[in-house]
Amino acid sequence: MRNKNRSRRFKLLRFVAAVMALGLLASACGDDSDDGGATGTTAPATTAAGDSAATLLKIALVAPSASDDLAFTQSMVDAINELSDPVALSITDGTFVIEEAATAIREYAAAGNEIVVAHGTQFGASLAEIAPDFPEVTFLWGTSTDTQGLANVFAYSPDAAEGGYVNGVVAAAISSSGSIGVVGPIEAGDAVTYITGFNNGALANGATEVSITYTGSFGDVALAAEAATALITNGADVLTGSAQMVVGAVGVASDEGVPWFGTQANQTSLDPSLVVASQVYHWEVVLEEMIAQRKAGVLGGEAFEINLANGGLEIEFNDGFDLPADARAAGDAAIAGIIDGSIDPNG
């Protein structure tokens, strides 16, 4: 009230700042395991496997992004569908808002599901509240390397560095400039693990420079595209990247004829001629184990990891890309080395 003039100007600034903050908030959110998805809707897509649902194991999945995102959420949906025994599956996907996810998790637990999958690191705090209320239900939570000490929670995580290392080795093998570009989201979680492994693999196999660019966003496709453009302008002739927004980078790689390495899901369909290989998650390996534990009466308390050794991680090479035999051989050697322990992808 005192100085109206000044206060009006601050009001304006405050408004602008608030609008910008909204913008930044929206930009930082993207679909990813670690920092929340971005789809915003709660479109409960329920699929029931078979009519005799009552006799089947009842599993419910709550996931931050879309079931067919060619990435994180799809990897789990595919895995559940790959289980050896059919299950009755309910899905709530696109729960970018954590509170919505928490509600869905609680409702699924209350609705008599035997296993509820909370597919997102960010759901951990909610789970710590919900899980003790449903001691008969097993909760699966990932990606996480610990169970928060909860007796009815199994944790799961990928050792994404392993596939990253293999991809890095192959990438270095086909790079003629020795300069390789990486497009990452925010420096956290799986993306960091993958990129660390990739960096180590590429440098181990003769790459001279691995330029790592974190765009600062899980969802900003346009920024990912510009990051790829900048990397290519700077001499990178092979690219990789992690998280959902990398499709922008794949688009640029595709235009420029630069080979691409994927992770989290098989990205070959984005460009069948330029995607070299993708690290694919097979959660079913650890899912089977966790289901077996539950049947044996152990409702939780253990953390599982998928890796190359247990078959939870797999490098899927694209036959459509003409990969030189020596490069392929280097990749296979890296896989073997990681499995037998002679190579430490994180080292």
């Binding site: 009230m1 005192r2 100085n3 109206k4 003039n5 009006r8």
Partner: protein, 512 residues
Amino acid sequence: MATDTDIPMLEMRGITKRFPGVLANDAVDLTVRSGEVHTLLGENGAGKSTLMKILFGLYQPDEGEIRLNGEAIEVESPSFAIAHGIGMIHQHFMLVPTLTVAENVALGTRSTRWPLTDLPVVSRRVEEISEKFGLAIDPSIEVWKLAVGERQRVEIIKALYRDARLLVLDEPTAVLTPQEVEEFFGILNEMRSTGHGLIFISHKLREVVAISDEITVLRNGRVTGHTTPAESDRHQLATMMVGREVSLAPDRPEIEPGESRLVIRNLVVESDRGTTAVDGLDLDVRAGEIVGIAGVSGNGQRELAEVIAGLRDAETGSSVQINGVEVVGLGARIARDAGLAYVPEERMRDGAIGDFTVSENLVLVDHGSEEFSRRGLLRFGVIRRHSQELVDRFEVKTPGLDTATSTLSGGNIQKLILARELASGPTVLLAAQPTRGVDIGAAEYIHEQIIEQRSGGAAALVVSEDLDELMGIADRIAVMFEGRIMGIVEIEDATREALGLMMAGVHEGSPA
């Protein structure tokens, strides 16, 4: 001089308009002839504005008929009214400040270069009209740069540009200096001589008597009289308007002023726009006197009042002392503790909280005091007794103490604020536009209260744009122009002409 025609330019017959709970117009008749200035006289809420809004198509009447040049019309919208030669100069100017004069004038008219504007063509016509009626104005200037009087001329040009034959002028002189009023009347005379019909809305009796050919008086939505200046003087008009005897000049007992209670030295204040609003102002107000601040709106009066009340900062070097206590930049609390009571200009923004009850507003300032609260809890019993006492003493007409303040009339809200401010027995009273928008009865009462404070030894500073008001109650009148005091005159020596010149910044009066 009315040109002689049998058919009146405008006939409104039996116009009735109801709003929920209010009969705004009750079978009102109005006849206006070409070449005539016809005054609609009445207090706020008498139904003048409603009648004119019906004429201009902003409201539809529930009953009644409108004839223009003998032909019955249904004015369905402002564009219809404009197309039929009816123009309206609104009390609050209907101008877009960020547009130029020509753009404002052209707004809503057909462009000869559609879809592009044809401002050169418009400007030429504006200049023609200006010349014909003596309304000097530059068509290419943006309206916000114009003085108030000039803006009014733009409004008139707007109407004439649309070939208006019948013009409604809603309180057009409220914002003008006496000299500007004279010029304005010159323009009206010019229009009268060209056969325009003019409806003049005002409650300034002096002007009404000076310019009108015919006078129709409204009260509570009904026509209560029809007269001419020759038949009725100011006092009779006031009586017709209010419905009872009123005294236009309140009694002011002679008393000798005491020591200075409000001392202002070298006051410099910045306006919201960042310009200098008050520019090195000095003023003393002594115990037992009322000093009036006259001036055209926007010459720093608002900023002056806000600084005294502690609501606005002044530049360094400024000094305002209330009973010897320096208050500049220290906030409202300090000013009040020093003995100030403040009746603000924007009564609904700064004076009272509309959603609060009458009772809550009455203790708004003091609710934290020991009298009304104990350990942070309000003492409702005490507050109610105190409120009831004030409502009775200051004749606030309200259905109850728990009524939302916003539902009261302007006059009663003002009485409520006055009651709260005067209850504490202030030694300095600052009142800004205390009777603006208030009916004559309430205004009379408010004036009595201010005079009573002064007679009780308080120093009173009254800011008003209504010269008649100040000449009625003040002991001295200071005229502000561009942030300075142009001069201060004792009421015995005050003439409207001299004050008017100072208001226009023309003449430097006796130094402060």
